[in-house]
């Protein structure tokens, strides 16, 4: 924003209507307006008047605001009176006038405040437009002149230096910069996007909460789907393994066939098998024969050992037969019974006691009788010794000898056969072993293992297939269920919210990144500029430093410590350097945006009112400041007191001044002499004071702004 003109009427020190016209400047130009003033002529009132205009600040007159109206004007007025400040600005090629007035009503002993009003006129090619809403007007005005930066743009000497030197703590100026450089807009945009994202998130959360069932189902669906996929993968793996195992089985079988088919190996193996069968058979036969032999031995009862005695014993038994002892037809029992009955078997009575013959006869019976067991035994023996008898010992012995001989012979043969089979088996085993038997065995073992694995794979496949089928059924059911719930809810809304939230997050991230880059770029431009104007001039080795976050300046010693106590000249140099750096930055920004064809108006369209910037400065710094001042900002209004307009400043400023004004003090003070208030400007003497005639009456002092031609 640049000033086109500034008018002040009957306000503070100014009486009547006072005008400062600013030279019009091209986009690339800069202008310097010089205002020379006597001491205490009220040059600071310009800045105060501006503050009143911009913000309605009562400037310490809140108890009696009407006192803002110039006292002399009030004294002269017969009735109500008003004072005002009016500025016409050029902002982004638009011309707008703001005017704030204060009116007072005259009462018997003075004035009462009537009103303070703000007016705005938009100057358009087709005519002026008067705004109505004061609140809107005020907002527009504050946008043109940010409150935080008022002291920076329209500053009075050391005050600004002090504020800037407070460093990053001075948040209002930093915040003003942030607004001015649109950093705040970026931050605001970031926080807006964040808020939008948060809003989406909240809405999403609400939506999700209301559809918890849907999400539970979805989660379950996902789990089942994963399981289903796992089973599918597992089945694929098993199928692949099965294929591989099958291939190995065929390969192994082919190898076995190749090793065993045809040739002697097969015959040997066949013969070995037969031999082993025969061996087992003969083992069983031997066992049978052994059992038979045992039975034969037992059955002989040792009779064969008695063969030689057969005839002798037969003779004794013959004798017994001859003696009628055998068979023992009369047994001992019969004789005993006979003796007890006293009657013979023929019926005649027995007289054994009296008749010796009868007694002897019976005794002889007794002697020749045998027990039935003995009779039976002897008869059996007699029969056994009869050669013709079927159960004769002789026949038995012959049979025993024959069967024993046969059994032993057969056994012997079997033993021989077994031995021969054993030898053959050993031989065959040896042959097969030395051939490829081991390899065949190994392959057979491998084939068995592979077959076993194949069965396991089949089992696993069956298992996984049934599990997959079950999962598929559940999945289908769940899908239907999810679809049913989905039909009842607005999924697209959720998806949109999700997308929006994602976009908001991305935009937020992008804005942050951009802001970081922007700030870095701002810092680099300002640092470079301030170093150029400050570091090269100071002689104590201190360096100007721009805080990357606040963009406020600071002074650092060679050791890197922040230096706060520096001389007035250095302070002013720092302020001017910072102003120039900021102007450079704005100009740079403008150029870059212009190159990008982004029309945002002239970012460096800024006017600066600098009041008494040489007051605390020695000549050396004053000259440096004066030298670097011109051409660095688009519009500068330099307010200088009479004593600051010394030769070194004048030499540097005068050639670059586009317009020059004086604050002429009108006073009736007795001790004021006009000759004391002359300044040189372009080899002319310019008076800054005019004495009023009405001496003796009330002391009157007021100023008027007059252009010096």
């Amino acid at each position: 924003m640049l000033f086109k003109e500034l008018r002040i009427k009957d306000f503070l020190i100014f009486k009547g209507t006072n005008l400062i016209e600013f030279p019009s400047v091209d986009e690339s130009d800069s202008s310097l307006v010089l205002v020379l003033a006597a001491n205490n002529a009220g040059k600071t009132s310009i800045i105060r008047a501006l503050r009143f205009l911009c913000y309605g600040d009562l400037l310490g007159y809140s108890d009696k605001p009407f006192e803002l109206i110039n006292k002399a004007a009030r004294n002269d007025a017969q009735s109500n009176i008003d004072g005002w400040v009016q500025a016409t600005f050029i902002d982004n090629k638009k011309t707008v006038t703001f005017k704030r007035s204060i009116s007072a009503i005259k009462i018997r002993n003075g004035y009462n405040l009537n009103s303070i009003t703000l007016q705005k006129i938009d100057h358009k090619p087709d005519g002026d437009r008067f705004a109505q809403d004061q609140t809107v007007m005020q907002r527009q005005l504050e946008k043109l002149v940010p409150k935080e930066l008022f002291d920076y743009f329209y500053f009075q000497g050391e005050d600004l230096a002090k504020q800037l030197m407070e460093g990053t703590r001075h948040t209002s100026i930093a915040s003003g910069f942030s607004k001015m450089l649109h950093i705040e807009a970026w931050t605001q945009a970031a926080s807006n996007v964040l808020a939008v994202g948060k809003k989406f998130e909240d809405e999403l959360r609400n939506l999700v909460r209301s559809n918890r069932e849907y999400h539970d189902k979805l989660e379950k669906l996902e789990t089942f789907r994963m399981n289903h996929n796992d089973f599918q993968d597992k089945l694929k793996e098993l199928a692949s393994e099965d294929k591989e195992v099958n291939r190995s089985i065929i390969e192994t079988s082919n190898k076995i066939i190749g090793l065993t088919e045809g040739g002697p190996n097969e015959q040997w193996a066949e013969r070995l098998k037969k031999c082993r069968l025969e061996q087992k058979k003969s083992e069983r036969e031997i066992i049978d024969i052994d059992n038979n032999i045992c039975r034969i031995v037992s059955d002989t009862k040792g009779i064969p050992f008695l063969v030689k005695e057969f005839s002798a014993v037969s003779l004794v038994l013959k004798e017994m037969q001859d003696a009628n002892l055998l068979p023992a037809d009369i047994t001992e029992g019969f004789v005993e019974r006979l003796l007890k009955s006293n009657t013979c078997i023929c019926g005649r009575p027995l007289h054994l006691v009296e008749n010796q013959v009868e007694r002897n006869c019976i005794d002889e019976y007794r002697n020749r009788s045998l027990s039935s067991e003995l009779n039976s035994g002897l008869m059996g023996l007699l029969n056994a010794l009869e050669e013709e008898s079927k159960s004769s010992y002789k026949r038995k012995v012959v049979a025993f000898i024959k069967s024993a001989g046969e059994a032993i012979g057969k056994r012997k043969k079997l033993i021989v056969k077994q031995y021969e089979l054993g030898v053959e088996i050993e031989d065959l085993e040896q042959k097969l072993s030395s051939a490829k038997h081991e390899e065949v065995s190994r392959l057979l073992r491998k084939a068995r293992t592979l077959n076993k694995r194949r069965l396991e794979i089949k089992d696993d496949q069956t298992n996984y297939e049934s599990r997959m089928k079950a999962t598929k059924r559940l999945l289908d059911d769940l899908n239907i269920e999810v679809q049913r719930i989905a039909n009842q809810r607005n999924i697209s809304e959720e998806n949109n919210l999700l997308k929006c939230q994602e976009h908001a997050t991305q935009i937020h991230k992008l804005i942050h990144q951009s802001l970081r880059i922007l700030k870095k770029s701002f810092h680099e431009i300002m640092q470079s500029s301030i170093s150029q104007y400050y570091d090269t001039v100071v002689t104590d080795g201190t360096k100007a430093y721009i805080d990357p976050e606040s963009l406020l300046p600071a002074i650092k010693t060679l050791e890197g410590d922040t230096q706060k106590n520096i001389g007035g000249g250095q302070r002013q140099l720092l302020v001017i350097s910072h102003i120039i750096a900021l102007s450079q930055l704005r100009r740079e920004l403008h150029n870059q945006l212009y190159n990008l064809k982004i029309g945002v108006g002239k970012l460096d369209d800024q006017s600066f009112f600098m009041d008494s910037i040489f007051a605390p400065t020695d000549d050396v710094y004053a000259r440096h400041v004066a030298n670097i001042l011109h051409g660095k900002a688009r519009q500068i209004l330099l307010l200088l007191a009479q004593q600051q307009w010394h030769e070194s400043v004048r030499g540097a400023i005068e050639p670059h001044t586009d317009k020059v004004y004086r604050f002429r003090l009108f006073t009736n003070k007795e001790n004021v002499k006009e000759e004391d208030y002359f300044v040189n400007y372009q080899q002319k003497k310019v008076s800054l004071v005019k004495l009023l005639d009405n001496k003796g009456s009330e002391e009157i002092s007021y100023s008027r702004i007059e252009e010096i031609n």
Partner: protein, 140 residues
Amino acid sequence: MTDIRIPKEAAPLLPYCRPSLNSRSNACFDTYADFIIFVASYGFYKTGKDGNQAVSEFLDQPYPVDIDIFKNRNLFPQILFLGISLTGSHKIVTDEERLARMIENYAFQGCRELNELLKKTIPDAFHIELASLVREEGAL
């Protein structure tokens, strides 16, 4: 009641009797009575009439075998045979005690002989030895 005791020398041969607790798979004799009559016959064959020497040591286990068991298993005629063969007379047949002692005496002799045979062979083949003995010694 007349018992026939088992001589101590029978101990190594008892595994060849099936009732024995430690009987072998090639045990031949179904009862101790069968065993006694077999070994007594062999003892008589090997020693003749001289072999009828009184024996003093007998086994506590197995218990002595009642002569009725011999009768029941139709082994009594053989006892009678040995008695008649030893004495050359039929008179002995009525004296069961004498017959029983005679059997014990010849069983002792038979066991002693078979023990020697057992020492020369392997236990698993002893039944073959016995069969060979029957075959060779009993040749008519």
